[in-house]
Amino acid sequence: MTTQADLDLASHKVVHDERVKERNRMQRMLIRPEMGALIGAIAIFIIFMIVAPPFREAASLATVLYASSTIGIMACGVALLMIGGEFDLSAGVAVTFSSLAASMLAYNLHLSLWAGAGLALVLALAVGFFNGFLVMKTKIPSFLITLSSFFMLAGINLAVTKLVSGQVATQSVNDMQGWASGQWVFAHAFNVFGVQVKITVLWWLLFTAVATWVLFKTKIGNWIFAVGGDADSARAVGVPVTKVKIGLFMFVAFCAWFVGMHLLFNFNTVQSGQGIGNEFFYIIAAVVGGCLLTGGYGTAIGAAIGAFIFGMANQGIVYAGWDPDWFKFFLGAMLLFAVIANNAFRNYAAKR
């Protein structure tokens, strides 16, 4: 096999075809997957700036960013999975599952909270592996497999919590070993020019940056696009399709664990019934951000912008003094608009 040996990589320069004019910058920008979301985010930002005076304050921005971050960390994993051509409907309850597991394992086995968190991570990854393994083995659409695991996890969350603690929430753990350091890592707020910003915002940005780098600058990223775009072709050229997809399910599980730890260390007790319905928010953020539902197309930055739109809408409606009940209507309308706009952008891109 001749590979690197034959390559003339000395110049590292792109050879340009003289017949093709360099596509201008504006056009290149416009056809990026997250462009629709970015324009939408700017529009919504301006609207709330106008109609909601409290929205203009720096502290409000910190709140918006916080709301965006907990959705955004998950949206990052869900977006990668969606680019890889699969779905995870169990992502919402998986968050609750992780924090319940960490709390109850640590409390009832008298472990440090970090040990509980470690065990919860193992459990979460096992659930992710289970999802991915079943999807790949049975070839049943991930929608159905993860719908089943969604209900199973939701049931486990409620039943096991009641069985172990006799209540619908876990015990308080803020006097246990590892609380202070855990809170510092997952939930503390730091001061930026007099405004308290939650550390999850930084984690969110880091997750997005790493995911973006992986997607576009590594082999794994290339494979993620390939397995989502055409799994059979990918397999034919030697991409380990099964491993990539199971890995993506496990990455979503990792994100769920991370957000779960934030819930635990932020709120001390965890309600066993929460998290149901959140999976749709993650999917909405990814789709608004330009991920194609059928896979093979999208970006992590888009998902982050989608999550930011979610955060703005969530808080902005309150700041504007509107009835918060309108939030869901707004979210639905936003999704519809984004899907249509993204579709239009993509068709425009395909014609270029």
Partner: protein, 274 residues
């Protein structure tokens, strides 16, 4: 890239070299169904072997055996004169036998250069070993240009290329990654006249560069334009095995269409046979 074999051959009907790939009395049965029987075939470097046959003649089974997807149930498969049995397509690839299937194994939404290197990406030599995107872009362009394909933009999704261009990218990819023998599964089947011309030109270029090409088709005109050697399959058996000089296009077409049947058809349709 192309190792021309030097050892003399005892009973070679064409050329004096050991064929890159040779099939001796190969047969394949699926349960109680005989898909192939007694197939003899030689693929030499710098030659195009056209395999012709109508639907169901056994062309696909034959490719699957040569490309390592299936194993023959009878006979010998020789690579460079040595008897071999491929266990997987990876085995065949390792011996330099690359197959370009009809679906081409490309991911439509991905850029041309990402498709070209998919599964065998180049990485930078220093930490963090990210993809060498510009190196891959440049290589894709030069490799395609070498074979006379001018692509305006290797960043375009491969789905936006024409069928012929896509076929050429898939072939160029196989060539670049060390193939000596190219198996092309009906590369012109879904293409128009002009696009087929592009692919046929490419096949000739590959042949002149010293590759052994197996060109599977059901179009005798295309086969006759580039082939040096023809094998005709019919209902799992080899009906014809001859070189370019031994046969005319009319004869080939007639053989392919089942000879007498075509004349009968001509008669029925009330036109004078050409």
């Amino acid at each position: 890239m192309t190792a021309t074999v030097e050892r003399p051959e005892h009973d070679a009907p064409s050329g004096g070299n050991v064929p890159l790939v040779e099939l001796k009395n190969v047969g394949k049965t699926y349960g109680n169904i005989t898909a192939l029987k007694d197939i003899c075939l030689r693929v030499h470097a710098g030659e195009v072997t056209g395999i012709l046959g109508d639907n169901g003649a056994g062309k696909s089974t034959l490719i699957k055996i040569i490309s390592g997807l299936h194993q023959q149930t009878e006979g010998d498969l020789l690579v460079d004169g040595e008897s071999t049995k491929f266990v997987s397509p990876g085995d065949a690839l390792g011996k330099g036998i690359a197959t370009v299937y009809q679906n081409l194994a490309v991911v439509p939404l991905m850029p041309v250069w990402r498709n070209f290197f998919l599964g065998q990406e180049l990485r930078k030599s220093s930490f963090p070993y990210s993809l060498d995107a510009n190196g891959m872009r440049a290589t894709t362009l030069t490799e395609l240009r070498k074979m006379g394909i001018e692509l305006p933009d290797v960043d375009a999704p491969i789905g936006s290329l024409s069928g012929g261009q896509r076929q050429c990218v898939a072939i160029a990819r196989a060539v670049f990654f060390g193939a000596r023998v190219l198996i092309l599964d009906e590369p012109t089947a879904a293409l128009g006249v002009k696009q087929s011309g592009v692919v046929l030109k490419y096949i000739t270029a590959a042949k002149e560069a010293g590759f052994g090409v197996v060109f599977i088709t059901h179009n005798p005109h295309h086969a006759y334009m580039v082939g040096d050697h023809f094998v005709l399959l019919n209902r799992g058996r080899q009906k014809l095995d001859c070189t370019y000089d031994e046969i005319s296009l009319e004869h080939l077409t007639q053989e392919m269409a089942g000879g007498d049947e075509l004349e009968a058809l001509n008669h029925e349709l009330g036109r004078k046979s050409a």
